[in-house]
């Protein structure tokens, strides 16, 4: 029941998460920050703008991103294969990339290419993480993971650390906010969207928060308190990292992901497989 509610209300809950994040970020910078409902005010304001679009495919792909993102979350939460949820997330990101590379704005195309670099960096890790969970739990089903008696985090510490460091890549946070790069390419893939169409991207991002933090929650197994604790710790860590670091080059990101994170996660998986 709770997963159905969470799926249906995902944009609203994600909006609250984003609101909390903006406040936390502001407090970390010694500012007061916007009110908690600020993302929803932005949402309503964007509804009221004149709709402008470049061409219909571009706008459609923006809306596709939102729908596919929501669908990936639904697949994840409504008790299906974790691997399939990962692949539906790929479809969401691909919609974004296709939309962004279909316009002539150089920033948009550059953002799309960098978004692909993001995907190259984090998707293998997602798959590795799901495989690692499979080795521990013995099933790809989210219900079995959530019913697992032991502590997955204790058997997969390196995978967890690797995933923690990939979250900035997925949520576009410093030091890996390369595709979005607000000071440099001004939002990357989202630059050409405006008004109601930008809204789809803005809300899709909120859903992505829920999607990512659900994976963090899975590391608690059937101990939900541990899952919640991990989610809160991950949230604070991501924001701290976001505030404390500057943006890296995309080469540095890919190198870091393939040279450090993936070997680390793979080592954990190999040790686990040998042990059993």
């Amino acid at each position: 029941m709770i997963n159905v509610i969470l799926t249906l209300l995902a944009p609203i809950i994600g909006g609250f998460v984003y609101g909390i994040e903006r406040i936390v970020k502001a407090r970390m910078q010694k500012r007061v920050g916007p009110p908690l409902l600020q993302p929803f005010y932005d949402f309503f304001k964007l509804m009221d703008k004149r709709p402008l679009m470049i061409h219909s495919l571009h706008a459609l792909m923006g809306i596709m991103y939102f729908i596919a993102e929501w669908f990936a979350l639904a697949v994840l939460l409504l008790g299906n294969d974790l691997l399939i949820a990962v692949f539906f997330h790929v479809i969401a990101v691909l919609a974004l990339v296709i939309g962004a590379s279909s316009v002539r704005s150089p920033y948009s195309v550059l953002g799309a290419l960098r978004e692909l670099m993001h995907m190259i960096s984090y998707e293998p890790l997602m798959v590795l993480m799901v495989v690692a969970l499979f080795l521990v739990v013995g099933s790809f089903d989210i219900r079995d993971v959530l019913a697992y008696e032991g502590y997955p985090i204790l058997r997969l510490p390196l995978v967890f650390i690797a995933f923690l460091l990939t979250i900035p890549m997925m949520l576009q946070k410093s030091p890996f906010d390369i595709a979005e790069a607000h000071q440099e390419i001004i939002g990357g893939p989202e630059i050409e969207y405006s008004g109601p169409f930008y809204e789809a991207l803005y809300t899709g991002k909120w859903i992505e928060y829920i999607y990512v933090f659900t994976f963090v929650f899975l590391f608690g197994g059937s101990h939900y308190w541990l899952g919640v604790l991990l989610v809160i710790l991950a949230f604070l860590f991501i924001n701290l990292l976001d505030n404390a670091s500057a943006r890296l080059d995309f080469r540095a990101m890919v190198k870091f992901a393939w040279g450090f994170l993936i070997p680390m996660a793979a080592l954990n998986v190999i040790l686990l497989a040998l042990w059993q």
């Binding site: 500012r31 007061v32 916007p34 600020q38 304001k45 009221d48 703008k49 004149r50 709709p51």
Partner: protein
């Protein structure tokens, strides 16, 4: 004036463009974003993207190179939108008035709604001007807005039947 118009005043997004001023005004804008004044309290964000911005905050006397960029930024913004001219040189040139390379102020290129006086204006004046701009913004509708001498521009370009 629909249901959503009430929420406009809660989230004005700013596009800041310097058209060749001395940078004094821009420093003031940056200090408005910093912890001391923190205009994100009012939901204001500096977006840097005309397609998603609501308030165009212009500083500087509009040099000849910047003229077309400024016009384009204005046209790319989605209505409803407001233009705020900040600083003496945006109001007719300031210390750059009648130089060979300037257009003497923002109003010669795009229609301005709010003027913020001073060289450089204090941050309090900037916030005051923003509040004023939001009030004007709330009265505006989603209709297309045109440049000052729209008919003349259309005629010189020869595109009367092009919507």
């Amino acid at each position: 004036m629909g249901f959503f118009s009430k929420f406009r005043k809660k989230s004005p997004w700013i596009l800041h463009y310097n058209t060749g001023g001395c940078n004094g005004c821009d420093i003031e804008i940056l200090s408005a974003l910093a912890p001391r004044y923190d205009i994100e309290r009012f939901g204001m964000l500096n977006r840097g993207n005309p397609k998603q911005a609501d308030i165009l905050l212009v500083t500087g006397p509009v040099t000849k190179n910047c003229k077309d960029v400024l016009r384009r930024l204005y046209l790319e913004m989605a209505e409803p939108k407001v233009v705020v001219a900040m600083g003496a040189c945006a109001h007719g040139g300031g210390i750059f008035r009648d130089f060979y390379h300037v257009e003497n102020g923002v109003n010669n290129i795009i229609p301005v709604d709010v003027w913020i006086p001073g060289c450089a204006p204090r941050v309090e004046a900037l916030i005051d001007g923003m509040v004023e701009a939001i009030e004007i913004w709330q009265q505006k509708s989603k209709e297309k807005e045109y440049l000052r001498d729209h008919e003349n521009i259309i005629k010189t370009l020869g595109v009367e039947d092009d919507d």
